[in-house]
């Protein structure tokens, strides 16, 4: 029916949940109707508002091409936040600015980094990867050798076990999406499947685990079940097409898709097949989570289903009533995202969000939902489900199971690991957005 879409009025856009959430297909139904809804005017009325003229950059030839490109000079504010900018002798964190990015992968310079003792300056020609222990024959690989092996590429998020820890605070923390969720990123990783190398070393039947160790000054080590190693573990050499960044493990890291970030050992230099886990510092202490009972979870492994809204979010002020796209990322260490719902009334009613295709396992899925803000108070939330049937827990559910802090911690503290509950953004009539509980 030609023309039928253009005749739709703003009131025709289907409201599917409270406080102005619209049907997720609204954006696909017809640009004219949507534009009408956003501006309050029809397209034909909107053209004559200003006199266009050439700006200086259009009047002369532009800049020279550079050997290695960087963002436009107007994007200088799109950077990671640093927890330890002077490199004092303790862990450094660089958090991804999710509110300033869109799409499904993280640019390499903005991928989150946690460095427990600084990034080692590794000469790739001298780096070695040893595989030994319960194998038929121990082998050592150079980078040149690994570069000749068959490679695979896959999208995968990497998330620190402590990402989103501020959500365990008893009261909301005045912080943005970068501070709360900045320790997860997503990239396309390319490398050699670990199973390919283990075919060459052979595996002693007694081997059930491996210990992976880095060439950093801490020789950081983690124990990994051999089943995971043979399922989808990769010796990653490339990140979004270029060699892995120093902060992400140059010249190679262990990639365990969907599993706790710290287990994805950077600067990988040694893999030892063993019968039982080593109970290394990070697995027996740091990433074991105290429960309200006083017991603690260990071997959490999986980064469970999570989502959060990036637009709007704190720092992105709404400029007035009208139509907005609510957008964010969802991911699960258990596979693909199957559904994301969005609420604008603090969880009383929900609308299904559109998922950006392709939806890939253990990778960011961008979700989007159209929303007409009436200028009143609103509380935005997202909730994700994965193909294994797991639902992202509500705050009430996770507090009942996992507890919350007794006092409000520093936004940089890690009072909890693997705390994958919903995030609520409160929108004030001024358009300001802040972290709230609902």
């Amino acid at each position: 029916m030609p023309g039928s879409h253009s005749r739709r009025r703003r009131e025709d856009l289907e409201v599917v949940a409270g406080n102005g959430l619209l049907d997720r297909r609204a954006f696909f139904k017809g640009g004219a109707a949507l534009a009408a809804a956003m501006t309050g005017y029809t397209l034909s009325d909107s053209a004559a508002a200003q006199q266009l003229a050439d700006d200086p950059w259009s009047a002369a030839a532009g800049n020279r091409v550079t050997a290695y490109g960087g963002p436009a000079r107007f994007e200088k504010g799109v950077v990671r936040t640093l927890s330890n900018p002077n490199g004092e002798p303790r862990t450094q964190h660089g958090r991804t600015p999710h509110h300033l990015l869109n799409g499904t992968f993280t640019p390499n310079g903005l991928h989150f980094v946690i460095s427990h003792s600084g990034d080692p300056d590794i000469d790739p020609d001298k780096h070695r990867l040893v595989i030994h222990g319960l194998v038929r024959r121990p082998l050592v690989f150079t980078i040149d050798a690994l570069m000749r092996y068959p490679m695979v590429s896959r999208m995968a998020f990497v998330e620190c076990g402590g990402n989103s820890a501020p959500l365990a605070s008893k009261d909301p923390i005045d912080a943005n999406v970068q501070a709360i969720h900045g320790l997860v990123s997503c990239a396309e990783w390319t490398g050699v499947m670990l199973s390919t190398l283990l075919e060459e070393t052979g595996i002693d039947p007694r081997a059930k685990w491996l210990v992976a160790e880095g060439a950093d000054s801490l020789a950081l080590s983690r124990s990994v079940p051999l089943t995971k190693a043979l399922d989808d573990a990769m010796i990653a050499l490339y990140q979004n097409g270029e060699r892995i960044m120093p902060g992400n493990g140059y010249p190679m890291r262990l990639l365990l898709p969907g599993w706790e970030g710290n287990m994805n050992v950077k600067y990988l230099r040694r893999i030892q097949l063993v019968e039982a886990p080593a109970m290394s510092f990070y697995e027996s202490r740091t990433y074991a989570q105290i429960l309200p009972s006083g017991k603690a979870y260990q071997f959490y492994f999986i980064q469970e289903v999570k989502s959060f809204i990036t637009h709007p979010s704190p720092g992105l002020r709404l400029s007035g009533p009208g139509l907005y796209e609510i957008s964010g990322v969802a991911y699960s260490g258990n596979g693909r995202i199957s559904k994301v719902t969005v609420s604008a009334d603090g969880g009383r009613s929900w609308a299904q969000a559109a998922l950006q295709e392709p939806v890939q396992a253990k990778a960011f899925t961008r979700f989007r939902a159209p929303w007409r803000w009436d200028g009143g108070p609103a509380v935005l939330q997202s909730r994700a489900w994965d193909e294994a049937g797991h639902a992202q827990p509500t705050r009430a559910e996770i507090v009942a199971r996992r507890g919350e802090t007794k006092t409000v911690p520093s936004v940089l503290a890690f009072p909890a690991q693997h705390y994958n509950t919903l995030t609520s953004w409160g929108v004030a009539p001024t358009g300001e957005v802040k972290h709230v509980y609902a």
Partner: protein, 178 residues
């Protein structure tokens, strides 16, 4: 058993039984390496004591090494400084954000040896002798009254040390454990 586990198990069996047949199918660019060549990197210590080197140390031997090489960050007598305290700790029932310490949290004494040897002291990791690491391990365990003032720590005694929170853990996903 999940499909994934079955697939992994099948690969495992194939690799274990047919590894000889698998040789030659890949590029085979790994070079054989001997245990002696790996020795300097082969530093993981297991809870059962596997990987512990020869040597020994006592709390009294550890005290002066601690004062010289550790106290600047971890404070006098392990009380804490710019880096974590090594002594004391609240009960874990005090709250989910309770600071995890050697006494209230660490399940295995071998981890103390492993992490001290691989990562400490911060400015010069892996410069301590094995005797020094045993002595520092003994010193920290004695400070926390987990061992006596005169106990000797070595490859035989250290794995037998019973940590207070040894049974304080729940495996999160038992189905993912080998």
């Amino acid at each position: 058993m999940s499909t994934r586990s079955l697939r992994s198990a099948a690969v495992l069996v194939a690799l274990a039984l047919g590894a000889g047949a698998a040789f030659g199918q890949g590029p085979n660019l790994g070079k054989p390496i001997s245990p002696a060549e790996i020795a300097a990197w082969d530093i993981s210590v297991m809870p059962n004591g596997a990987g512990l080197p020869p040597g020994s140390g006592t709390p009294a031997q550890g005290a002066p090494i601690y004062a010289q090489k550790c106290a600047a960050c971890h404070g006098e007598n392990g009380k804490g400084g710019v880096s974590a305290a090594l002594v004391g700790g609240q009960p874990l029932t005090a709250g989910i954000e309770t600071t995890k310490t050697i006494a209230n949290f660490w399940p295995h004494a071998t981890t103390l040896f492993d992490f001290t040897r691989r990562a400490m002291p911060w400015p010069k990791p892996r410069t301590l002798t094995n005797d020094e690491v045993y002595a520092l391990t003994a010193y920290m365990l004695a400070l926390n009254k987990i061992i006596g003032e005169h106990e000797v720590m070595n490859a035989q005694t250290l794995p037998k040390v019973r940590m207070p929170n040894r049974d304080g853990f729940i495996v999160r996903f038992p189905d993912r454990m080998p």
